[in-house]
Symmetry: C2
Subunit: 242 residues, 2 copies
């Protein structure tokens, strides 16, 4: 039995997220269908990040076990030839028997793009925010979330998890000519965590909230203490570390 | 009577080009409708480049005459609030009485993006070409089209023009990590000229045609002497000089 590790890019605009669902178009369903046709057997994928509806990925990682003897590059080319244009298999590698794209991941890196001006080209890939934002204050807020913290306040209610502890290794906003770009790496992410963090930090950046309020919001362990959930289409899964 | 100069950005994916047509969705129709509502009078636009179906613009320029007393920033904000998300008015300026976005233009700059690898994110904005391309040869071909030349071989048949002379001031391919980017500036462009130039130079880049064949193709004054027409979705109107 081979264990194959795939890197997958997708434009989340027209997908109801990664995870397979009965009636909706999902990335997992498309890739499983393509690889099942290719290998003439049922392919079942495990993924590093179960991205929500509308969220993009530049390098999602997924793995599957197969009896197929196809060369690795055939998983890429043959898989892509059977996939719609908004999802592409970027690469395929052999993985050790015990490898799982989901459970072997040490950390995930997400990017969120806030556009400073309205744009037509690329509007699918950034959240346009109309007020000026103070990036220095947003980075002050980032400092308060580094390390192992309880992120219950940044988790969509009724999440099916044992605990809310996440180890945030990196969190930083940088400003480009047209955008503010947030990147965050952590061992795990809770449901909507990046989008609630972004929504909260944007409220800090436009002075609706103080940058010093982050520790209080964390301590509340209550979703209603944090800011709004930023829209899905600014979010990208960028990298998974193993 | 005021004369207003607009800079307009649009994603050409879902438009049947710039120019107004009876049954199709066009950029001109959307912007005229928006500004006519805003000014409560019939607005008629003249544009620098009548881009084809599927072609994008980062800075199309259009002008219109109006009796409206609205401040310039209201044309931008009020226009955009009445426009679909795939077209944005970037700026509005007062122009002299004799100014026409179409007839006063001294030159236009177009960009064409060829993607070296398939991508899901941004696939709407580049033509994926599967074979390796020799950029050096493509730039040799560029040298042959500089200056005033007859571009009948690079014009879609039955074009309604007096002559085929264009003055090409700049034409160059540069290579980035993921793309080959062609930019060309000329006083005027014939119908499909950039896309036929790109299609021809791509055939030179993958050795289907010799780079030395450009003078022969120009001399033929016959569309069938040139290469294929590259797809619309890699093309952007980038700048208009006045």
């Amino acid at each position: 039995m081979r264990n194959i590790k795939l890197t997958i890019e997708y434009d989340g605009t027209d997908f109801c997220g990664w995870q397979i669902q009965v009636d909706d178009r999902t990335v997992q369903a498309e890739v499983e269908r393509s690889l099942s046709m290719l290998t003439d057997s049922k392919v079942r994928l495990a993924a590093a990040g179960r991205t929500d509806s509308g969220v993009h990925a530049l390098a999602q990682v997924a793995s599957f076990k197969t009896e197929s003897n196809l060369p690795l590059d055939v998983f890429v080319r043959g898989g892509n030839s059977r996939l719609p244009r908004d999802v592409r298999i970027v690469s395929a590698e052999e993985a050790p028997a015990g490898f799982s794209a989901r459970y072997s991941a040490k950390s995930r890196l997400y990017r969120y793009v806030v556009a400073k001006k309205q744009k037509a080209i690329g509007r699918q890939y950034a959240w346009y925010y109309w007020n000026p934002l103070d990036v220095r204050k947003m980075n002050d807020a980032c400092a308060a979330i580094l390390g192992v913290r309880d992120f219950q306040s940044f988790c969509q209610a009724k999440a099916d998890v044992d605990h809310y502890l996440c180890d945030v290794r990196y969190a930083f906003w940088r400003e480009t000519k047209d955008d503010l770009v947030f990147e965050i790496r952590a061992n795990r992410f809770l449901h909507n965590m990046v989008r609630i963090l972004v929504g909260t930090m944007v409220e800090i950046g436009d002075n609706t909230l103080r940058s010093s309020s982050m520790p209080r919001i964390l301590a509340a362990k209550d979703r209603s203490a944090a800011g709004a959930t930023a829209p899905a289409h600014g979010l990208f899964l960028l990298d998974v570390e193993y």
